[in-house]
């Protein structure tokens, strides 16, 4: 199993987001110029394939319901129906969904970062019997799909009377191996001499964690925070199993209900809802892109 760590280690690099090294080469030969042309062409094609669905989503969110499926495809709205963005608040429970999702995302992220970085210190810096085996168990769960134990977990949560409460999702998401793994990877890059010096100055292990490791690991904490936040916001299956009460629905469940429940299928409003669910995450992503990429590259894991 340690190979998985090596693989992740080797793929970890801080230069991911820096500009490509070296100066821009001047295309000298026709061959090189052709290669560059093909490169640009490939990039444009892939970029279009990547972004067209988003474009279509946003464009449809501003159409009238009947215009969403016009033949031939109309890529831009004929008239911009901005009122869709007002109607979505009054005609659906969007506010409730956003509130629930935000509560979950914030609490889960806080717990994941706190307990994850705390545990990571134990794994990275303390030596005691059973530590390595325990860490292997943590890592081993990467290969265990959640879908395979969702049923016993559901029975357990129901026995604890946590089903149909927001607590179920908090518990479900907050204690994954992911945070521990990501933070441990980072802590191991911190020179041991730093904590050694602190120890001589009389700092306890908890003090070292709080005063040295936590401040040093701000980039890693940022990565973990962003990845956890996005994962919790986007989680669909967890809420689908546990949150039956419409007052507890998250953004994703709400979106789903927009599709399946409306008798008079207002397609435009559906797209408005989707845009509303995607935009906050897109903004979070654009602001913290660097940390996302580094978090994934160091841990090599989804949250």
């Amino acid at each position: 199993m340690s190979t998985i760590l090596e693989a992740a280690d080797e793929s970890a690099t801080a230069t991911l987001l820096s500009a490509p090294r070296g100066r821009r080469p001047k295309a000298t030969t026709p061959g090189k110029r052709a290669a560059r042309l093909i490169g640009y062409l490939a990039m444009i094609i892939v970029a279009v394939a990547l972004l067209v669905p988003f474009f279509w989503m946003i464009s449809s969110s501003l159409k009238t319901s009947n215009d969403v499926f016009s033949v031939p495809v109309r890529w831009l709205p004929e008239t911009f129906v901005w009122s869709n963005y007002v109607d979505i608040w009054t005609q659906t429970n969007l506010l409730t969904w956003i509130r629930n999702t935000l509560v979950l995302a914030v609490v889960v992220t806080f717990l994941q970062v706190l307990t994850g970085s705390f545990a990571a210190y134990g794994f990275a810096r303390m030596r005691f019997r059973g530590r390595d085996i325990l860490f292997l168990v943590y890592i081993g769960t990467i290969a265990v799909p959640w879908q395979s134990y969702m049923i016993p977990q559901f029975i357990l949560m129901s026995d604890l009377k946590l089903s149909n409460t927001l607590w179920s999702i908090i518990l479900l998401q907050a204690f994954g191996a992911f945070g521990v793994f990501l933070m441990k990877q980072f802590y191991e890059t911190v020179p041991e001499e730093l904590s050694e010096a602190a120890r001589i100055d009389g700092l306890s292990e908890y003090g070292i964690w709080r005063r040295i490791m936590v401040p040093l690991s701000v980039p890693a904490i940022a990565s973990l925070t962003l990845l956890t936040f996005v994962n919790t916001w986007n989680d669909y299956l967890g809420p689908l199993i546990y949150l039956r009460n419409p007052n507890l629905w998250t953004m994703q469940l709400g979106l789903q209900s927009l599709v399946s429940n409306t008798q008079d299928q207002n397609f435009a409003l559906m797209f408005t809802g989707m845009t509303m669910s995607v935009v906050p995450i897109a903004i979070v992503f654009l602001l913290g892109q660097k940390y996302f990429v580094e978090g994934i590259a160091t841990s090599g894991m989804k949250g």
């Binding site: 998985i4 760590l5 994850g116 049923i151 016993p152 989707m274």
Partner: protein
């Protein structure tokens, strides 16, 4: 795993074994105190359910009754269950299409992004976008895009001269390929990041040396890039395999396993038996199959990788 320095080096060297013992216990206690808050949650929500899974799979537990031990009965029933067989085959079918396709596409994009072309920063952001978007929104947008009569995809296909484009999600033959296209579209940005990280660890000198020896671009790719990327490729393949075997939410939102059961996968079989029909025992037996599938294939990949890197 690297061994980390201990407290012992910082503390005064203990003279008596008794003191050393006490220090060891103290270390263990502090170590555990760090791990415990996370471990409690982890144990309760992951370890306990996994262990319980194996027990439940040998019982006939349903939502009303008490669990009775029925031995291998559930597994015997799985063997004769045609729906289970379809779900199992569909899962493999999905994996066999999704894994190579995603590997090639994400590596290709990573190679493109590793060049000195203009606009790579924007492109990298775009490539990563689908991965951070909610699966519900993705599934719905694509569902409508793939809509046979009035969806943009078939309208474009008709425009370029394909008179009878596939019914995609409404057709038993084309539903799974459509799901694969969408999941590849979604996942490639994530694996692309891993490949990009791997590519940047390849020493420049190797390319220079190969160029000196007269190797062309393709030869450099085969003889330098591919071997140097080996650890990354291995890691990506392992993650991709596990993620393929557990595919679920995308299919649940897009097709609900349909049309018929043509896109039903293992996870959904478990879901249907467990949460819709309340047959916890039977669903757990299917879960054990999914569990073992992932674990066994992962172990095989590790062994294969070890053998390959020794050769």
């Amino acid at each position: 795993m690297t061994a980390t320095a201990t407290m012992v080096t910082g503390a005064p060297r203990p003279s008596k074994p008794n003191t050393r013992m006490r220090l060891r216990v103290r270390n263990a206690l502090i170590g555990w105190s760090f791990i415990l808050p996370n471990f409690l949650g982890f144990a309760l929500l992951t370890l306990v359910p996994v262990i319980a899974l194996f027990y439940i799979s040998f019982t006939n537990w349903n939502v009303f009754g008490v669990a009775h031990w029925t031995g291998l009965e559930n597994f015997r029933r799985l063997l004769g269950d045609a729906t289970f067989k379809t779900a199992f085959v569909n899962t493999l079918y999905y994996a066999v299409m999704h894994i190579p396709l995603t590997l090639v596409v994400s590596l290709g994009i990573a190679l493109l992004l590793n060049t000195k072309l203009r606009g790579v920063a924007f492109f990298r952001t775009a490539a990563f976008f689908p991965y951070i978007t909610s699966i519900v929104a993705i599934a719905m947008v694509w569902n409508l895009m793939f809509s046979p009569d009035y969806g943009p995809i078939n309208q474009i296909l008709r425009f370029i001269g394909i008179a009878d484009p596939p019914g995609w999600l409404t057709s038993p033959q084309w539903a799974m390929p459509a799901v694969v296209i969408i999941s590849t579209w979604r996942d490639m940005g994530y694996y692309m990041i891993l490949f990009l990280a791997g590519l940047q660890t390849v020493p420049r000198e190797l390319y220079e040396a190969a160029r000196m020896d007269g190797a062309n671009a393709w030869q450099r790719f085969v003889n330098v890039t591919i071997p140097c990327l080996r650890p990354t490729t291995f890691f990506v393949t392992v993650m991709l395999t596990i993620n393929s075997f557990k595919i679920f939410d995308l299919i649940l939102v897009m097709t609900k396993g349909g049309p018929g059961i043509s896109t039903m996968v293992l996870s959904q079989f478990i879901w249907r038996k467990g949460f819709e029909e309340n047959q916890f025992g039977y669903a757990s037996a299917a879960s054990v199959v999914l569990f073992l599938l992932c674990i066994v294939v992962t172990i095989l990949q590790f062994l294969w990788n070890k053998r390959g890197s020794r050769a």
